[in-house]
């Protein structure tokens, strides 16, 4: 631990106080908090400082996790038990009634399964600087995110007699969705080009009227072209089908700002868009968060998403530390592992533990081929062979012997608790 001189930083903290505080079994964080508090109160006597430190220490030691506590099982139970009280139905997202999001038990299962993609992907996009409070700029971002298909831009009519598809683009919509242009003709020509690239045919354009048909007359081809035309994305992110814009209060600055909620998620593409605040925007697809922001962000996303799911169900009294443990074990090897047969339970070292979970026979046969050896370290294996498990009171060894101090010291080799 680094020695640092608290007396220098604080006016009301003298050496005696430092001595008594430093002698306590406390984390650095708490010691500093004590100095700070003493500083704020101005003129705390030595005795009082000692008492504060003592009381803090008592409280601190009282709230530590006990060594050898089976925290894993306790966390698993603490998340699983409220599962019985959750609903099965998909309901609307609390804030945004317009977007349906999987909620309740199905969402919890989906998160723990690390299923990709989730049932209802969505993003919460926060905006930067002036984009956040200017409705027009915010809408620019919306148009860059929401996928624009032909039906949103104009009317299509299929002329069977002449074998042509006619698109009558709406001038206003064009200029609204392409705010950087001021001539709808330019936009229309761009749209025509996109169509040509996507369908591989020639188009004719006249103002905002686009017309095209199959190379050789064929009804099937004509109808096929119309089908394909509907799927072309002219602007925005393909995966995002809808964006809802809402005005919300920013808790940090206490100002109103625009927040976008998207149906569908493509986190990487969204972050690259100008005006998007990458530091606050999130996706409910933990795999995308992992890919874009790394494993620590994925861990945080798992915690946030599970906590939100529980909160929606009114079960947010679950201690967040349990969720952290689940998120930590899911992300322990640097990738997102699901909880279950294909993830953590399936990749355990012990053959017996895997066999006891699911697909019993295959695990045994594979173990034989690979000549595996089960060292019987874990919990399930030891239950199976009938040995005490090495967790909790089963992890404590008592050694009987005389009270010969010298001898005891020699024997007391520092033994790590995990073997």
């Amino acid at each position: 631990m680094t020695e640092h001189d608290a007396t220098a930083d604080y006016e009301f903290v003298d050496d005696a106080i430092v001595d008594v505080v430093e002698s306590k079994e406390l984390s650095r964080r708490l010691k500093d908090r004590i100095y700070q508090t003493i500083e704020e109160r101005e003129g705390v006597s030595f005795e009082q400082a000692g008492e504060i430190a003592q009381a803090v220490e008592a409280r601190y030691l009282d709230t530590r996790v006990d060594p050898l506590d089976p925290v894993g099982t306790v966390s698993a139970q603490s998340i699983g038990e409220p599962g019985t009280q959750m609903t099965m139905n998909t309901f609307h997202y609390a804030g945004v009634a317009e977007i349906d999001v999987t909620q309740g038990l199905p969402r919890l299962i989906e998160l723990v399964d690390a299923r990709k993609p989730p049932d209802t992907p969505m993003m919460t996009v926060y905006l930067e600087d002036e984009y956040a409070n200017n409705r027009e700029l915010a809408h620019q971002v919306v148009w860059n995110i929401e996928s624009t298909k032909i039906l949103a831009l104009g009317d299509i009519s299929t002329n069977v007699a002449d074998m042509v598809v006619q698109i009558n683009l709406n001038d206003e919509t064009l200029l609204e969705r392409w705010p950087t242009y001021d001539d709808e003709g330019v936009v229309a020509s761009e749209i025509a080009e996109t169509i040509e690239d996507a369908l591989g045919i020639k188009t004719r354009r006249e103002g905002t009227l686009i017309e095209f048909g199959p190379e050789s007359p064929s009804y099937r081809r004509l109808l096929q072209l119309v089908e394909e035309l509907r799927d072309i994305v002219f602007k925005g992110i393909e995966e995002v089908s809808r964006v809802v814009i809402r005005k919300e209060n920013n808790e940090d600055t206490d100002e109103e700002e625009f927040v976008l909620y998207t149906e569908g998620s493509a986190f990487g593409d969204a972050l690259a868009i100008e005006g998007v605040d990458a530091s606050r925007s999130t996706s409910n697809n933990i795999h995308e968060v992992h890919k874009q922001l790394g494993i620590e962000a994925a861990r945080e996303a798992i915690i946030d998403e599970t906590m939100n799911t529980l909160r929606e169900q009114g079960l947010d009294d679950v201690n967040i530390r349990h969720l952290m443990l689940v998120a930590d074990i899911m992300t322990n090897d640097g990738t997102i592992e699901s909880i279950g047969r294909h993830g953590i339970s399936g990749s355990k070292d012990s053959v017996l533990a895997r066999a006891a979970f699911e697909v019993t026979v295959n695990h045994l046969l594979d173990a034989a081929i690979h000549g595996e050896e089960d060292d019987l370290d874990g919990v399930i294996e030891n239950v199976i062979v009938g040995k005490p498990i090495a967790i909790g009171t089963g992890d404590v060894d008592l050694r009987m012997g005389s009270l010969d101090v010298e001898d005891a010291d020699a024997n007391a080799a520092p033994e790590p608790s995990d073997d």
């Binding site: 009282d62 966390s75 698993a76 139970q77 019985t84 443990l325 045994l364 874990g378 399930i380």
Partner: protein
């Protein structure tokens, strides 16, 4: 007779077994398919050979000489007439066939490739990742080679026909090659421009002699190799056909024998423990008789185990095979028999192979063979090995007993005299022990067995008890009945969290049910509508000590899920404390003492005043305060909404309700458990429950149908509110039908209408509820219960008195039923509230038949939902526990699994225990608050300050029955 010393299992190795080792280990070869002879004696070298172990009592095992029960059984073997494939390894066999050379057996990889894969495999193993992917990619790479890189012989593709047939596929020249060529040379009838190919052009194009081409066309010359390829290219056709050469298991076995060890290592196979040729069985192990015991039916007939049936089939076919082969039967017959043998061995190992009809019992039931025994919930692994059956356990119905402490459990005397505790007889307890024995097994504090120092166990009977009691000496063991104060484990399934299994102290009672204090219902999630619970008597001192220190109910008052108390007052307890403290009623001395009669308090404080009659009186708050520690100071808001202030252990204002003393985070109970001691909070909860019961008996609290009725003018108001809503909805529908309804963003017009109607009807129900609520008296028992948090919500009451409201299925109004309408009572397309499940009546007024039907629809959805949810969440919990069960906090504060991998450096980022800190506390330690309290010195006593500074009374694990038990012992006397 040899006695084996018990040994601890260090590790378990997995591998295949060499047939030679197998033959050595076998107790006997099995050759006859018969089991027992006419005398009912097992036939030698039959499936029930006494060398394979014994199941009939009295017989002796011919291998180890032990009798049934102590002989574990011994394996035998069957020499198979021809090798067969082990079904479990069919995929691996396919992979090996594809990746190794048919001639030399070497892996078809170059040395560099092999080295690369071997390194990769080593690395994945080190990292603890799944190595089967590496193996698969190595196989894929090897399969690409058309020629063996070692001996240069050509490789053929392997076709696998599930489950156990393999073919070698070679492309050879088709038999009808000349016809195919001729046809391709004909002009295309659909294409006028195509004139076909004449033999001369063909010869030019292919570079063959015109002569040769004619010979080919005549079918006289077989174009092979380059000629064939040239022809195929010129005419753009395929001249080959697949030739399938079946690989017999014996061929595969020979092939695998050639695979060198180092190539196996590259594929991740351990050649020391499992050679690939061992995947082809030449000898079949015969499980010991003890693993497939036959049962004798009532009529004296024997019924054999499924495995025995299967083995009989195998031996029969095996014999027929051998006989036929010796007789020189045609190849076709031999092959059929071989396949049949393969089928029987396959189903012996796994009877659920897709594509193979399962072997059936005579009755048509599929046989349960080896794989089926291991698999699934009731299989060997999950059913027998992970879930063990135990002795010294009891199960019966539970019922409430408010006179018990929460630490106790009432155990029926007949259970107590069945389940025992072992007493080691010493100088100090010899008299006691003798008395237990003297009482015999029938009368309650008695004994069932004694054990002499030489290990002999004697049953205590009514006849020999007197005599045996005199014989009991030091060093004997006496299995005495459970008595008051013994510690037992108590459990209710489903065991969803650790509070589902807690340790209780025994109180022996008459009758047949387990008795619990009602305050332990929340942790067990128990009620008394017929619930049953399990009890386990602990059998050694270590277990009893652990149970007492760690598992006793009082140690589990705080839940690790949310860090607050899960044990506390419930239901009537809360109504009771509410009645006692809400209006702060007055009690005269006898009443006050009656309220406190079941508590430790036996003297009353100074009276609060005198009533008109000149009698001193005490207030409800005063009486409640008697249960609080003298130095308790608190302030919080109650559920009712008033501020509760406790100063120096005196409740000075506020109502005590669910938020103060309830289970799931009652403030006072929580504070006592955290700042005082578990024992203090146990005493408090017990006393609160008793006081509340006395209080509720004093005031009386009952509920009847009249308590939910509201005056006529209120009913009129409710009707008015509902009518207003109906009008509004009619308006909405009209707007909608006129096509003028504006849709909400992202919703269709239909959805918008539905949402608006739902909203409006919700509002109507709420206003009906408000009207009803306004007309309820403050002292209405239903209101008391709901306001105090004892039971029911205001919503329940308004549904009873005001209006039940909209019934929903899938979160929407009821829209299912007939086409365009919910019931034939309505017009098609009727969008009104009534037609879509709005129940305007109250439960008290009664529902109309149509309303009742809609209500049942909503109710059914709830039931289905619950059923689906329990199974889903049960599986979620199983997976979570399986994934996290290995994690443990270490002495250094980190969280590691049992193999030492660090998962968290500090539990929950700050090492704080979730048990001791409430989930909604921002910071686990509030330094500011601590400093404030010390600086303002608001301690009423030195003790309080000491406790604040961390001086605690040491935890006691003493039995609540320490005293009575001593008395009981003194009083142990024979009944006769």
């Amino acid at each position: 007779m040899s006695i084996q010393t018990p040994k601890e299992i260090g590790s378990i190795q997995f591998g295949l077994m060499d047939p030679e080792t197998y033959r050595d280990m076998s107790a006997t070869k099995v050759i006859t398919a018969d089991t027992y002879d006419d005398d009912g004696y097992p036939i030698d070298m039959g499936l029930m050979d006494p060398r394979l172990g014994v199941i009939d009592p009295g017989l002796q095992c011919r291998t180890c000489g032990q009798h049934s029960g102590s002989c574990n059984g011994h394996f035998g073997h069957i020499e198979l007439a021809a090798p067969v494939i082990h079904v479990g390894f069919t995929k691996l066999i396919r992979r090996l066939l594809r990746s190794t050379c048919r001639e030399c057996g070497r892996l078809s990889l170059t040395q560099e490739e092999a080295d690369e894969y071997r390194d990769k495999l080593g690395r994945t193993k080190e990292l603890g990742d799944d190595w089967s992917d590496v193996m698969k990619s190595a196989v894929r790479q090897a399969r690409k080679a058309h020629r063996c890189p070692h001996c240069g012989s050509p490789q053929h593709d392997i076709k696998h026909e599930k489950p156990t047939t393999y073919y070698e596929v070679q492309n050879v020249l088709a038999g009808d090659y000349s016809e195919r060529i001729a046809e391709a040379m004909q002009p295309d009838p659909d294409d006028e421009d195509d004139e076909g190919v004449d033999p001369v052009t063909l010869a030019n194009e292919t570079g063959l002699d015109a002569e040769r081409v004619n010979q080919v066309l005549a079918g006289e010359f077989r174009p092979v190799g380059d000629d064939r390829k040239a022809l195929e290219k010129a005419l753009d056709l395929d001249l080959t056909e697949e030739d399938m050469n079946k690989l017999m298991p014996s061929d595969i076995r020979d092939w695998f024998e050639d695979i060198p060890d180092e190539d196996l290592i590259t594929l991740g196979i351990d050649p020391d423990r499992s050679r690939p040729e061992w995947m082809i069985l030449t000898v079949l192990p015969v499980p010991p008789v003890t693993a497939r015991p036959s049962i004798t039916l009532d009529n004296g007939q024997r019924s054999e185990d499924d495995l025995t049936h299967k083995l009989v089939d195998i031996i029969r076919i095996n014999q027929r095979f051998m006989e036929n082969r010796e007789a020189g039967a045609p190849q076709l017959i031999i092959e059929d028999l071989w396949e049949l043998l393969q089928y029987h061995v396959t189903t012996f190992i796994d009877n659920e192979i897709s594509g193979t009809p399962p072997a059936r019992h005579r009755s048509g039931r599929p046989l349960k063979t080896l794989s089926q025994r291991l698999k699934g919930k009731e299989g060997r692994f999950r059913g027998s090995l992970s879930g063990k059956r135990v002795n010294f356990s009891a199960r019966t119905v539970i019922s409430p007993d408010p006179t018990l402490s929460l630490n106790e459990v009432g155990v029926p005397d007949r259970v107590a005299s069945e389940m025992t505790q072992t007493m080691n007889v010493t100088e100090r307890n010899i008299d006691e022990a003798r008395q237990y024995v003297r009482n015999g097994p029938e009368s309650h504090p008695g004994a069932n067995y004694v054990r002499r120092p030489d290990g002999r166990r004697l049953k205590v009977t009514e006849k020999n008890c007197e005599e045996l009691a005199e014989k009991v000496e030091l060093g004997w063991e006496v299995n005495r009945h459970l008595v008051d104060g013994d510690i037992v484990i108590f459990n209710r399934q489903p065991s969803l969290h650790r509070m589902s299994i807690m340790a209780h102290e025994v109180v022996v009672m008459p009758y047949k049910t387990f008795r619990l204090n009602t305050v332990v219902c929340p942790p067990y999630n128990a009620d008394f509508d017929g619930d049953e619970m399990n009890m386990h008597a602990l059998q050694n001192e270590e277990a009893r000590a652990e149970a007492r220190v760690l598992m006793r109910v009082q140690e589990q008052i705080l839940s690790p899920r949310f860090g607050e108390n899960i044990i506390g007052a419930i239901q009537d307890h809360i109504s009771g404390t509410y009645l006692l403290t809400h209006d702060n009623p007055e009690f005269v001395e006898t009443q006050a003492l009656d309220l406190l009669r079941a508590t430790r308090v036996d003297t009353l404080p100074e009276p609060a005043g005198e009533n008109e009659d000149g009698q001193s009186y005490w207030t409800g708050q005063q009486i409640f305060s008697e249960l609080l520690p003298d130095d308790l100071n608190m302030e919080f808001t109650s559920k009712v909404g008033d501020t509760v202030t406790i100063e120096d252990g005196q409740l000075t204002q506020g109502t005590i309700d669910e938020d103060a003393v309830g289970a799931f985070g009652g403030e006072i109970v929580d504070a006592l458990a955290k700042d005082y001691s578990k024992t203090r909070s146990r005493i408090f909860i017990n006393e609160i429950a008793s006081l509340a019961m006395r209080a509720i008996m004093h005031f009386g609290l009952s509920i009847g149908i009249d308590d939910e009725s509201i005056p006529d003018e209120a009913t009129a108001q409710v009707d008015e509110a509902i009518d207003a809503a109906y009008d509004k909805i009619q308006e909405l529908i009209e707007i909608y039908e006129a096509g003028e309804l504006e849709s909400l963003p992202g919703r269709s017009v239909d959805e918008t209408l539905e949402m608006k109607i739902m909203q409006r009807l919700g509002k109507a129900r709420d206003s009906a509820g408000e009207i009803a609520e306004d007309h309820f008296e403050e002292d209405n028992p239903a209101v008391v219960m709901s306001k105090s948090g004892a039971r029911a919500s205001m919503l329940n009451l308004t549904q009873m008195a005001g209006c039940v409201g909209q019934q929903a299925v899938r979160g929407e109004r009821i829209n299912r039923g007939y086409e365009g309408r919910t019931l034939s009572h309505y017009q098609k397309g009727d969008l009104s509230a009534e037609a879509h499940g709005f129940v305007e009546n109250s439960y008290r007024a009664g529902l109309t038949p149509r309303e009742f039907f809609f209500h049942a629809m909503g109710g059914r959805e709830g039931l289905v939902d619950t059923a689906v949810r329990t199974s889903k969440s049960g599986y979620l919990q199983r997976r979570l526990i399986n994934a996290l069960s290995e994690l443990e906090a270490q002495y250094d504060g980190s969280v590691r699994d049992t193999s030492g991998t660090i998962v968290q450096f500090e539990f929950g980022e700050d090492g704080t225990s979730p048990v001791k800190v409430s989930s909604d506390d921002e910071t686990p330690i509030d330094v500011e608050n601590i400093a404030d309290r010390i600086l303002t010195s608001e301690f009423s006593s030195a003790e309080e300050k000491e406790r604040f500074l961390g001086e605690r009374e040491p935890p006691t694990n003493l039995s609540e029955h320490a005293e009575p038990r001593v008395d009981a012992r003194a009083g142990v006397e024979s009944d006769d």
